[in-house]
Symmetry: C2
Subunit: 217 residues, 2 copies
DNA sequence: TAGATTGTTAATCGATTAACAATC
DNA sequence: TAGATTGTTAATCGATTAACAATC
């Protein structure tokens, strides 16, 4: 049973293919060649074909790719054909924003429970879900089939909470706390470090400025 | 005036170095070797030295790196030694969450104006800033020294709004809309596609499942 | 001075692009 | 069949790691 490891770079690109194919499908486009998709997405046709062939031959020589079929296949590769039950830890501004974001639910990511350490908001209802104290996480996870925890708490508590979640049997953590979690390697962590993203933008702007100065000199 | 292009991979790592050095500095650590930092950050010492030497020799043989000095230098490379004025377009849940996030301001990213197309929330005050109609963006940008726009609106309007922002003289866009913007190359765009991040997590969980199944077989 | 650790060159590894035979 | 376009191998390019001379 050989495990050809798919590179991180390829995986990162899959959701973008999925997005473009979804849009094409919505527009009623039935087939597309790697060359056409290449122009649209501003990547090389070669890369598209290489990426897809990591998972199988989804195209047909002389024809190209069937949009709907490829869309569904990539969705299935990404695991979007299955439902995911989520709990949200941290019902602050960001947590509430994510809880209210309807598109996640459309893709099968269902928020089942919301937890917060601040007792003032316990009982508050967000999108039909009552905010519960942190102490309830363990029993809630035991009773519901939760696979992903969304961590939108300050970095101070994040590492400890993550360790607890692991002990309760969580499988994946979507981490918005500005800290690296310390969990066993079999637990999947996807970090969204917003401040780091903003710093990258800042760096690029600085480059712009420099380029501007250079041009003037 | 040679322009040694710094690779995207290196730039992506800078904010993480910055974060670790900031924490070390807060803990009162004065010096650190690439080897020690390597252990802490779980990257190779070689990579750390290579990355830093893209920007200059910040260390000293036999000693290592001065934490505070290196922290400040990386901050300066990232452009964090200068203030950035931001406007926020889209005062929905996510926009409000970002507006209320204090840490950005600490790093010099100041939200000066908030705009939304929904007239029901015009006049609403978020963190001391009154939500204005979209029509005000142009004059607001002319009067204030805005360099970054934070785009937290649905994808439907995002491409058009981005084009307008460009015509008003924006330099950078922090894009949270689930669509690729179409702007001139001198405009810097940093995308935060949350749904793509969640899909990557979903993919990894699927891999876990497969690995589990494989082990059983 | 001896030991430590950088800065930097060289070697390796991996990812992207190019090319083309296979085939629809 | 001829034309188009994939799947895949080979070539190139870039990024990471290893090694070590320079030097604090």
């Amino acid at each position: 049973m050989e495990t050809k490891e798919i590179s991180r770079a390829v995986i990162s690109r899959l959701p973008r293919y999925y997005r473009y194919l979804g849009e094409l499908n919505d527009e009623g486009v039935e087939r597309i060649s790697s060359q056409e998709l290449s122009t649209l997405m501003k990547v090389t046709a070669s890369q598209i074909r290489q990426d897809l062939n990591n998972f199988g031959g989804f195209g047909q020589q002389g024809y190209g790719y069937n949009v709907k079929y490829l869309y569904d296949e990539i969705g299935s590769i990404l695991g979007l054909d299955k439902k995911h039950n989520l709990i949200l830890i941290g019902a602050g501004n960001l947590g509430q924003a994510l809880a209210n974001y309807v598109n996640f639910e459309k893709r099968g990511f269902i928020i089942k429970g919301i937890f917060d350490s601040n007792e003032k908001i316990h009982g508050k209802v967000i999108r039909g879900i009552r905010v519960q104290p942190m102490e309830e996480i363990e029993s809630f996870m035991a009773e519901n089939d939760i696979d992903i925890a969304v961590l939108t708490i300050p970095k101070t508590g994040a590492v400890k909470v993550a360790e607890q979640l692991v002990s309760f049997g969580i499988r994946g953590i979507w981490n918005f706390a500005h800290i690296d979690l310390n969990v066993p390697e079999e637990i999947e962590v996807e970090n969204v470090h917003l401040s780091e993203s903003l710093m990258r933008l800042s760096y690029k702007l600085k480059g712009e400025q420099n380029a501007h100065i250079r041009r003037k000199v």
